[in-house]
Structure formats: C-alpha cells, structure tokens
Symmetry: C2
Subunit: 164 residues, 2 copies
Amino acid sequence: MKTRTGNGSPGLSVWLRLMKAYNLILREARHSVEPSLTLPQFDVMAQLSRRPEGVTFVDLSRSLLVSPGNLTGIVRRLEGEGLVAREAHESDRRAARLRLTAAGRRKMSALLPRHARDIARLFSPMPRGEVAQLRRLLGNLTHLLEPAPPAVTAVARKPGGGTP
Amino acid sequence: MKTRTGNGSPGLSVWLRLMKAYNLILREARHSVEPSLTLPQFDVMAQLSRRPEGVTFVDLSRSLLVSPGNLTGIVRRLEGEGLVAREAHESDRRAARLRLTAAGRRKMSALLPRHARDIARLFSPMPRGEVAQLRRLLGNLTHLLEPAPPAVTAVARKPGGGTP
DNA sequence: GCACGATGCTTTAGATTTAAAGCATCCTCT
DNA sequence: AGAGGATGCTTTAAATCTAAAGCATCGTGC
C-alpha cells in the first residue's frame, strides 16, 4: 500500500484542488467586475487593452482559450455597448481587427486597477514565498500542457499559415 | 515605470496562470468523459458515487461550487437518462435525496478509471516532487480562500440578526 | 397555535460555452 | 489562371451557468 488516504493519483488530486481554487477565485473575480461587465467581457477587453494595435478573433480565441464562435456573441455585445469597435483588416478581408473605443479604454482604466487589487487581496494571506513557488510551478505546468510550438526554423513555414 | 515583464502583482500572475492551466486541463477532462456524459454531469455523478447514502441539492451545490438553480437542469437530464434517481428525504419534505441508479453506478465504474488515467497522464511529464509541491500549495490556497467554517462553539450565532 | 424569517428547490431571463456546419476569402500548387 | 484545401468568422443546437424571484416547508419565538 502506498498512499491510501483517499486520493487516487497525485495528478488527479492536483486537478481537484486546482478546480476548487479556480472556482473560488472565479467568484471573486466576477464580483470584482460586475455589474459593469461580465467576466468574459472583461477578459476580452483586458486583452484588447494590452494590444492597442488590434487583435483578430483568432488571436483572442487562442489567448483566452475559448472557441471562436463564442467570441462572436461576446464581442457583439461589447460593440453594442460602444466599448469595442471592429475595423477591416488591411490585408485579409475575412479577418477583423478589434480595438477598444475611447469609452472602452476609459472603462478599463477604472476596472483594471480595481480588479488587480481585488485579486491581489485574495493572495495576501499567503506567504510571499509560497505565492512565488505556486507561480513558478503553475508556469511549469502550463508549459508542459501547451502544445509544442511549431518549431519555426528557417526551413519550413507552415503551409497556408496566415499568422504564424 | 516599474512595469516588469508583464506582471503586476504576484497574486494576479498566479491567477492568470491558474486560469490557463485550468482551461487546458478542462479541455482534456471534457474529452475524457464525452460523449458519454458532459463534464458537469460527470462531476455530479462522481460526487454521488462517493456518497452512496445520498446527497441533497444543497450538498451538491456546496461541494461543486455551482448554483442550486444550475443543478436542477443537470440532474433533470441525468434522471431522464436513468442514471440518477431522487427519493424523498425522510425528515425534510423540501429536500431531495439523490442517488446513482444501478445503471449510473455501472456507467461510473467504466468512466472513473478512464478519467483518472487521462488526468494522471497530463501530469506525468512533471517531476513527482513538483506535483507534490503543487498539490500542497493548492491545498494551502484553497484553505485560505474558503470561508471560515461557522465556528460552532457554545454560542449559537444568528439570534435573528442575519440581514434584516 | 401561529407569525415569520430561514432553508431547499424550481423557474426565469440573459449570458456563456462548445461542437459542428456554413460561407467568404486566402494560399499554394499545378 | 484555376482547383483544392486551409483559415477567419458566423450561425445553430443544446447544455451550462448565475442572479433573482417564487413557492413550499421547516424551525423558532411569542
């Protein structure tokens, strides 16, 4: 008998705890941006405020890990609120270039610091060293989980690769 | 400007990585139980298989961290599939007592090992020591995030002054 | 008894979510 | 050029998900 304290494998146990921590923080994060925005809307706008040059749906889909079809609805509502605008992509007529409007930037100027403060407060009772360790280990984990990058050497570029 | 390499506070950075890891694992977990069940349905049934004595909606709501109204629909579909049944609670006519049916237990006997294996595989490239550390740190974090238990001492809290 | 707040579950409205199908456009190869 | 496959976005169907309102029941205090 190795470990008989009610946990199957260490990995599964990590997943269960990760789920719990995620959901607990998620609640706080939601309340931190409501009722001004929903959390998914905030996530989209936070990405846009990091990239003033504009972002396509596919970029957003990859960085936020949500399906493209999902973004259609979220962005549509943000456009309706006048917080996000889409321009034509200069070299690809299929693609859109999403940006924050002035009103969107204004709103994020107010929300981003508040959100950062609220999240930071959740971790404040945890010792600094542990937070740093957790950060490092989660970095390792995501690195292992993410699909290996396409190995862009000088030889082969991806055929049909629009945005490598 | 003190903007380091894209990091505000350590806590916020942990949250961002936690989100990423969660979503990456979530995808695998979903594919691990589909198309037999959806992941929320699996989560409900996994709870039920741990507690053969039966569970109420409120119990489920608290252990899975989802809203009670949400469970209504999930359980209704599982009942429709014949995987879950509800009995009358013996001492509280409002409450329900949810249990797996024989078919539900059969299904979980097949799904649980597969799911555990699939999740464990995700962590297999990570050194054992790191997995153990991550498990410990996430445990600490969850403890800090969870609301303190009601502190059932000799004094009964709630003499009617809840939120009038 | 019995009023009255608390609790357990359901319903409702609106937003998110995915997978899959569909359309327009792009890119490469012949 | 033109065919054929890949990409970018939207639409659709079905399931989650939350917050809030609603209903029935419980439990306590008067």
